[in-house]
Amino acid sequence: MDWLKFFRSEPKNTASIAKERLKVVVAHQREGRTNGPAYLPKLREELLLVVRKYVQVPDSAVHIHVQREAGLEVLEMNITLPETS
C-alpha cells in the first residue's frame, strides 16, 4: 500500500535534528582538545630558524611537548644536535 503514503503528512526531518544535536555534542567535546597553545607551531618554526643559523639540523630535530599536571603547564623543548664529526 505504498501509494497511501502520498496522502500522509510528511514525516519529521530527523536528520536535521541529528545534525543539531551532534553540533552541540562535538563542540563540547572539542573544548580543551587543543593540544597546547596556538603559537606552538610558529614557535617551533622560529626556533628551527634560529638553531639553523649555527647548526644544520633536520626538521625533526626540534621536539616540543606540552604537559598539564594539576593546574601546572609544562612546556618542554628538546633540540637534538647532529653528532659532531
Binding site: P11, A15, A18, K19, R33
Partner: protein
C-alpha cells in the same frame, strides 16, 4: 619508505575491517606492495574478510614476542602477489601489544612495503591507540548516524594528540573521511545525515562514500574483499576511494538516489 595508514573509527561495526580489506586490496591491485595488519588482538576478523583464516599459522603477537619471524607470519594473498596479511592473535589480549614491539614490526615492514594498512579495533583503548600511534595518514570510517559521528570526532582528537607525529611535533596525521553504509534514498527523505552534514561536523576532507550494499555481506560471506566485486556499487565506490587516495581525481558516485519510475514509486519498497 612505506606509508602507514590506520583505519579507525572509535565505534564498532561501522566497517573498519571491510574498509581495511578493500583498501589494502585496492592498493595492491594498482601495483603497490601492501601489508594489512589486524590490531584487534583477541577478536581477529580481518583474516575471515580476506578469506585466509585457514592459513594463519603465526600472528602479529608471535612476531612481536620473537616466536616467529615476520616472513613466517605474513600470509600472501591468493589473488594478489603483492598483498600480505598479518593476522591478530586470537588467544591473547590487547596487553600483548607493546609500543616498542609494534614499532619494530612496522619498521621491518617499512623496508619492504609501499603501504602498511593498520586495521584498528573499536574503542580507544590500547589496541586502537597502538594502531594509530605510528600512522602517517588515517581513514576515519564513519556511518551517517549520531553515535558514529561523535566517536569519529573523539578519534580525530586522539589522532591530533596521541600519535607519534603529534608527540614529536613532526607534522600531523593526515585525516580522511570515509562515510560508509550510506543510503541516498533515506538522506533524501530527511531520515539520514547527508555527506555534507557529516563533513560539516567533522571538518576533514572526504575520501569516499560507500553506499549501503548487499554486496558487502555477500563478499564477507565468501571471504573476498568487496572491492573485487566490480559489478557492485560498494566495490566500485572502494575502487574510486583507492584511486582518490593515490591522487587521481574521481567524481563521487552513489551519493544521489537512483531514480525510480512512477510504478516503482507507487509499488516499490
Amino acid at each position: 619508505m612505506a606509508k602507514i595508514i590506520v583505519v579507525t573509527s572509535g565505534k564498532g561495526g561501522v566497517g573498519k575491517t571491510t574498509t581495511s580489506a578493500s583498501f589494502a586490496t585496492g592498493l595492491a591491485m594498482r601495483g603497490h606492495k601492501t601489508a594489512v595488519i589486524d590490531f584487534d588482538v583477541g577478536l581477529r576478523n580481518l583474516d575471515l574478510i580476506m578469506g585466509c583464516e585457514r592459513r594463519v599459522v603465526f600472528d602479529f603477537v608471535n612476531v612481536i614476542h620473537g616466536e616467529a619471524t615476520l616472513r613466517q607470519a605474513l600470509i600472501k594473498d591468493k589473488q594478489h602477489d603483492n598483498l600480505f596479511i598479518l593476522a591478530a592473535s586470537q588467544t591473547r589480549d590487547k596487553d600483548a601489544l607493546t609500543a616498542d614491539g609494534v614499532g619494530r614490526v612496522l619498521d621491518e615492514l617499512a623496508k619492504d612495503f609501499d603501504y602498511i594498512v593498520c586495521d584498528s579495533p573499536a574503542g580507544i583503548e590500547k589496541g586502537a591507540h597502538l594502531a594509530m600511534y605510528y600512522a602517517d595518514e588515517a581513514l576515519v570510517v564513519t556511518n551517517p548516524e549520531v553515535s558514529s559521528v561523535r566517536d569519529s570526532d573523539r578519534v580525530l582528537g586522539l589522532l591530533a594528540s596521541k600519535t607519534r607525529r603529534a608527540e614529536t611535533g613532526n607534522g600531523r596525521v593526515k585525516e580522511h573521511l570515509v562515510l560508509t553504509r550510506y543510503n541516498p534514498a533515506r538522506v533524501q527523505k530527511g531520515e539520514m545525515l547527508s555527506v555534507d552534514d557529516v563533513r560539516e561536523i567533522l571538518a576533514i576532507p572526504l575520501l569516499g562514500v560507500i553506499p549501503e550494499s548487499p554486496a558487502v555481506l555477500s563478499s564477507s560471506n565468501a571471504g573476498v574483499p568487496v572491492i573485487a566485486n566490480k559489478d557492485s556499487d560498494a566495490g566500485r565506490a572502494y575502487e574510486d576511494l583507492v584511486a582518490r587516495f593515490l591522487g587521481e581525481p574521481r567524481e563521487h558516485r552513489f551519493i544521489a538516489p537512483e531514480k525510480k519510475g512512477l510504478l516503482g514509486r507507487l509499488f516499490g519498497t
